[in-house]
């Protein structure tokens, strides 16, 4: 069957005017990303990878070229349409977490549902279940400043998942984190891809993460200079049972553990749950990872996107969980 790519960039260029200087952030980028892929966009600072991500996220428009989302032109959407697209179709995770400091954690996670006009009780329930999924249930009433960086990023991931989007965009999500927190965040992203079949696009300049990607786009000077298919990492076809996923993630966790052994001095003192763990406790984190997966299992989609709707409709509230359903709820009011 002919697959429609989730994203297709055709000859995308972006030029900034900085005073008299013309900065060519992107120069004719062509790429296709398919459903369920874990994509890494790799490159040095200033190579245009963040610009590419923000164009994909509809946060800015390309100077020339076109981005297709599931075959539809992104440029046809107006501001309202773009807001809905960001709200229901994609989840974005930033390097700087971008939680709103005046709101508590639960309100932060529920905010996209607030925009989607979901009732308070429904969105709080949904946010709580996601907060459990990222293992921070007891911080619901805290504000973001009371959490460590890693915890904040996990909250940000929970927020990006709250409308059950099928695409995750992560812009250097581990850039501000110590290695331990970074690994937790990576584990979350990988499980979202392997287990929930979400398309994950990860922007990074850390080569250690490349092994987890199905495909890697190498960028330089605003161009995709090389595309590499990663044969070592299991693809979606291999992941067809829960047991397999667990094994797979154990492996992933081990690999992450190996990475961590190299530089684990940068533990964040603020973390109450994991911050005090030392190197020798690294092994204990593996079961924690496993524990997190079945939890995720109850609230997150497991198979195809059709299942997203079904699973979530039965487990949590019907309207808030599925991107399409969300769209329907807000339609009459708009």
């Amino acid at each position: 069957m002919a697959k429609v790519p989730v994203f297709k960039a055709v000859n995308v260029s972006k030029t900034y005017q900085l005073g008299d200087v013309e900065v060519k952030a992107l120069q004719g980028v062509n790429l296709e990303i398919y459903s369920g892929e874990f994509i890494c966009i790799f490159g040095q600072s200033g190579c245009g990878k963040s610009t590419l991500l923000s164009i994909i996220a509809g946060l800015q428009k390309p100077s020339t070229g076109e981005v297709y989302v599931r075959g539809d032109k992104l440029s046809t959407l107006d501001n309202e349409g773009l807001a809905k697209y960001r709200r229901s179709k994609i989840g974005i995770v930033f390097q700087s977490f971008n939680l709103i400091p005046s709101m508590n954690i639960i309100e932060n996670i529920a905010l996209p549902l607030t925009f989607a006009r979901i009732s308070k009780s429904q969105r709080i329930a949904r946010a709580k279940s996601l907060l459990e999924t990222v293992g921070l249930a007891k911080y619901a009433d805290h504000t973001s400043s009371q959490l460590s960086g890693g915890q904040q990023q996990r909250v940000a991931i929970a927020r990006s998942l709250v409308t059950a989007p099928w695409i995750m965009l992560a812009d250097e999500p581990t850039g501000n984190l110590d290695s331990k927190s970074a690994n937790e965040v990576m584990r979350l992203l990988i499980s979202l891809n392997r287990k929930s079949k979400r398309t994950v696009i990860l922007i990074t300049h850390n080569p250690e993460y490349l092994d987890y990607a199905d495909r890697i786009f190498f960028m330089q000077d605003g161009k995709v200079v090389k595309t590499q298919v990663n044969s070592k990492v299991k693809t979606e076809e291999d992941v067809d049972s829960v047991e397999h996923i667990s094994d797979d993630l154990k492996e992933v966790a081990k690999e992450i553990g190996a990475v961590k052994a190299g530089n684990s001095n940068a533990d964040d003192g603020m973390k109450t749950k994991t911050g005090k763990k030392s190197k020798k406790k690294t092994e204990e984190e593996e079961p924690e990872t496993e524990e997190m997966i079945p939890e995720t299992n109850t609230t997150e989609p497991t198979d195809t996107e059709t299942t997203i709707t079904e699973t979530e409709t039965t487990t949590v509230e019907p309207a808030a969980n599925d991107a399409e359903a969300t769209t329907e709820t807000e339609e009459p009011k708009e």
């Binding site: 971008n98 607030t114 925009f115």
Partner: protein, 395 residues
């Protein structure tokens, strides 16, 4: 976003910077308080002035005067015609004749008025000494002014009360023809008016001549609103009329201007407050630029952002309006109490210098809400138009 969520978010934002919110609201309180205080003074003085001119009864009273025209005599036929007009509750004709009054020793002159005792209170006289009312429709009694009693050397009310006067009334029919009738009237009430000569008596006592015509007819109407209509009806019959409402209307006109001028001072203060709101929101916009970027990046609509800002301005206006109205009202009340305390301790009548009608209080709250919302529109539009990516990068 749902309205309730917009309000929650806005309220949370206001609470976040409590000091600034309180200061901004204070600006509105001062403006609205000034408007309410000053305009209440206008209302109070207006009520005071109107009540000096006319009691409430007088506002539903139409006076019909005699006319020079043919067939427009103010007689019993005319009274019957007036009774037929819709909205007329009662009619009080008034007779008046020049009269000479005398005691056993002295004599003088006055004007004798005959009124229906029921409507004595509609006349502009009060008995300061003795009885204010006649004992019956046919009692041979009079309420007389000090001015009339001067010639009789009866200026001491204690001595005059209870005295019997001989009153000779004269009806002039033509230049050389007149009718006379003498009445014996007992002084039961005395007005301390020493400028106008009058002696009131029940109309049945004074009505001694054939085919008498009244000097005036007072028409009591049911509702104040129907005054214009009834007045037109009476005037279309050929009778000139006048009413206290004429004077009251003039007073009201003057005070409308006074209130606008007073309110204008308060309005200036409110404008300053509106600029304060504008300023507060502009600063909030800068502070929250990054946050607005985040909201847009995770799916907030431009309109959501705009509504949150507008709602903050509206809330400031609403709170400021409510507190301002209460403050202005309390201030007026306080001054009223103080004046009345002084007045009562000096044996003067209690007066209300400040009056705040409920509709005015409601209107001012609405006005504060409106002005503040308008002040919030521009910052809200700027917030809505922020480029999401630039806002995200803003720190």
């Amino acid at each position: 976003m749902k309205i309730i969520d917009i309000l929650r978010l806005s309220f949370g934002n206001l609470r976040r910077n409590m000091l600034r919110t309180v200061l901004t609201i204070s600006g509105v309180v001062v403006g609205i308080g000034a408007i309410v205080f000053l305009v209440s003074l206008g209302f109070g003085m207006q009520e005071l002035a109107v009540s000096k001119v006319a009691n409430l009864d007088a506002l539903t009273l139409l006076t019909v005067n005699t006319s020079q025209k043919e067939n427009t005599l103010l007689n019993s036929d005319a009274v019957t015609k007036f009774k037929g007009i819709e909205g007329v509750t009662d009619i009080s004709p008034i007779l008046s004749y020049p009269a000479s009054i005398s005691t056993a020793t002295d004599s003088g002159d006055t004007i004798a008025y005959g009124v229906n005792p029921k409507y004595l209170n509609l006349e502009d006289i009060t008995a300061d000494y003795g009885s204010k009312t006649f004992s019956s429709d046919t009692a041979n009694e009079t309420i007389i002014s000090i001015a009339s009693l001067k010639a009789l050397k009866l200026t001491d009310p204690a001595k005059a009360l209870g005295q019997e006067l001989s009153v000779k009334v004269v009806k002039i029919i033509s230049n050389d023809k007149k009718e006379e009738s003498t009445l014996k009237l007992k002084i039961i009430g005395i007005s301390k008016d020493d400028a106008t000569k009058f002696a009131y008596t029940p109309i049945k006592v004074l009505d001694k001549f054939q085919g008498s015509t009244y000097s005036k007819v007072k028409i009591k109407i049911e509702k104040r609103e129907s005054m214009m209509e009834i007045r037109k009806a009476v005037e279309s019959m050929g009778y000139p009329t006048n009413s206290v409402t004429d004077t009251v209307d003039q007073i009201n006109q003057v005070f409308t201007i006074v209130k606008f001028v007073l309110g204008g001072f308060g309005f200036i203060a409110l404008m300053v407050a509106a600029i304060g709101i504008f300023n507060t929101l502009t600063i909030a916009l800068l502070e929250r630029t990054h946050e607005i970027g985040v909201m847009k990046a995770i799916g907030g609509r431009n309109s959501d952002v705009a509504f949150v800002f507008t709602a903050e301005a509206s809330m400031i206006g609403l709170f400021g309006g409510l507190i301002g109205v209460s403050t202005g009202w309390l201030l007026g009340k306080g001054i009223n109490l103080m004046i009345n305390f002084v007045a009562v301790s000096l044996d003067g009548p209690a007066v209300s210098l400040f009056a705040t009608p409920l509709w005015f209080a409601g209107f001012v709250v609405g006005f504060a809400f409106f002005i503040s919302t308008v002040a919030g529109i521009l910052p809200a539009r700027r917030a809505a138009k922020l480029d999401p990516l630039e806002a995200l990068r803003y720190e």
